[in-house]
Symmetry: C2
Subunit: 335 residues, 2 copies
């Protein structure tokens, strides 16, 4: 390992001159800087981030919280694409990314402590139990944080546009002539509440009557549950002509059930997904779904967090909504 001290010796200057030169300080003359930088490269000098951040109190490192009780969190395309977006933007701006768990070494601990331990400049909470006191403690600390798809009071959050999403879906389905529209929603979260409220509102405005039995509960990303809900809907006397699913994956569970009943999509029943994952585009019939711009969500999360880190005094928390768009596939029949 080679240190600035070695370079200083090799160049016949002091360590501080080397430090300043490497950091392109204007205090150092162009000539000296050039000479030092060149020498440093030749000697294969690599800075030591530990020493640097010990001194500067900055790590250029962002924490990443990704808790998946479902044990396959990262496996969900929606999240992994968000992660990809975060990674791209963080790298672009010269930040690294470190996963933050709720333990340090082998001992249980809080997320906040872990982030502090690693000297994170800020933390992005991609997926977590937002009711967890340890998450709340983190968000309410002085550590800059950005949450995704969950809004803490007065904190910066990046949200997919659930309101617009359900609104557009309902409108489209309505225009296609449907009046008996069922909605299978995910477990009770902020996102779900937004979507549900927006669904009701859109229906109300269009004078669509929504029997309570048309609203079914399932869990995001678990096709089985949406399958069960689908069966219940199909077996109703006055069954819906269109079913809106919590997400594209869940639709697959519904699909199985629909086929079991001998129904065809969209001839016998229309369906709409949510997320617009890759799968939705290659399925046949192509799925009508609301495409969330997950890369953009990730980019924006990283971007805002870095802004917050750089301007801690002037930055005002924001709630940013990332627009998606309706992908009109072939799963909604005109009736």
């Amino acid at each position: 390992m080679i240190r600035i001290k070695d370079i200083a010796k090799a160049c016949g200057v002091s360590v501080s001159t080397v430090s300043k030169a490497l950091n392109r300080s204007h205090e150092i003359s162009g000539d000296t800087t050039r000479k030092i930088v060149e020498k440093a490269n030749k000697m294969g000098y690599i800075a030591n981030s530990s020493a640097r951040s010990l001194k500067t109190k900055r790590s250029q490192n962002l924490g990443l919280i990704f808790v998946d009780n479902s044990d396959s969190g990262l496996g969900h395309e929606y999240f992994s694409i968000i992660l990809n977006g975060i990674k791209m933007e963080a790298e672009r701006q010269g930040y690294d990314l470190t996963f933050i768990s709720n333990k340090i070494g082998s001992s249980k601990n809080s997320y906040l402590n872990h982030a502090r331990y690693r000297g994170c400049d800020g933390v992005i909470i991609v997926s977590a139990d937002f009711q967890d006191p340890k998450i709340m403690a983190l968000v309410n600390s002085d550590m800059p944080t950005v949450t995704i798809d969950y809004q803490f009071h007065n904190k910066t959050a990046i949200m997919s546009d659930n309101k617009k999403g359900l609104e557009e879906i309902v409108k489209h389905v309505y225009e296609m002539g449907h009046r008996r529209i069922a909605f299978i929603h995910g477990e009770d979260t902020d996102v779900t509440r937004q979507r549900l409220a927006s669904f009701y509102k859109a229906c109300e405005e269009l004078d669509i009557n929504v029997p309570i039995e048309y609203i079914r509960s399932a869990e995001y990303h678990i096709p089985k549950y949406s399958g069960i809900a689908t069966r219940e809907l199909l077996e109703m006397e006055n069954r819906p002509t269109c079913i809106i699913y919590p997400d594209d994956y869940s639709y697959m569970g519904g699909l199985t059930e629909i086929e079991k009943h001998g129904f065809k999509i969209p001839e016998d029943i229309s369906v709409v997904g949510y997320d617009g994952i890759y799968l939705s585009r290659i399925l046949r019939p192509k799925l009508t779904t609301y495409v969330q711009d997950s890369v953009q969500i990730g980019l924006m999360a990283a971007n805002k967090l870095i802004e917050m880190i750089m301007h801690p005094k002037t930055y005002l928390s924001e709630q940013i909504t990332i627009n998606g768009y309706l992908q009109k596939g072939q799963t909604v029949k005109r009736i």
Copy 2:
């Protein structure tokens, strides 16, 4: 922020005593240790990893290389599940995970330098261009590394069992009565070569004749290319009765093409995928595919890397193969 110095003052002991007590050194009496630890907790002490690793030369942090030219790397379930496995095992053993790119801050750099800069104890190369000199430099350095699905000479690698995979697929398809078997493979990589060799070998042993036109090239994870290959196969005079795809996603491209030709699966043509992603299980007909145990691949990669870090002298590089299994779906017809 509270430092050991503060605790020392509060307890009326020296900093070194506190340090030792917190690290459970046996030099310190049980009583003193208890008192110090308690006080530290009460004061909300959190260690500083920068200071610690500056001194100890250990970071308890693993680097993660994940390069995706395709711009959706993390979005591929195979990789994101591997990542999940790595994360689980690293956390279990008290290691953190940091993404390593080929730049430090805003300046271009090598992976090795980046890993050194962050003081990584080791690096897992999940996905990368293994011909990239920067990757090779990393692997050939003194930095402990583990690669996934690529074998550098005399280095530790975790491989999915491509040999057994293709072998089992061919055997199964053969047993179902197929003799005209086509294989669409991915771009030229280690994995592809292994699979191709194994495919040929299995066919040879079963006396299956493989016309050169039955071997088609596509790219992993890009349905479009597999779609094109599929069309070419379907339009042959003597078309195959079964097509093996590079991966489950690619099969979706083939599916579209097959339906365009008015063929049904498996009545008119049989198909086999590879990977066993979630999708393969919920598709109807359920896809016959070779399931890779990607969580296990991730777990093992982290596990071996940590072993290597802890026993640098005695650890011998290994090539570990993680077994998968054949998922018999409904896409291969008995003929």
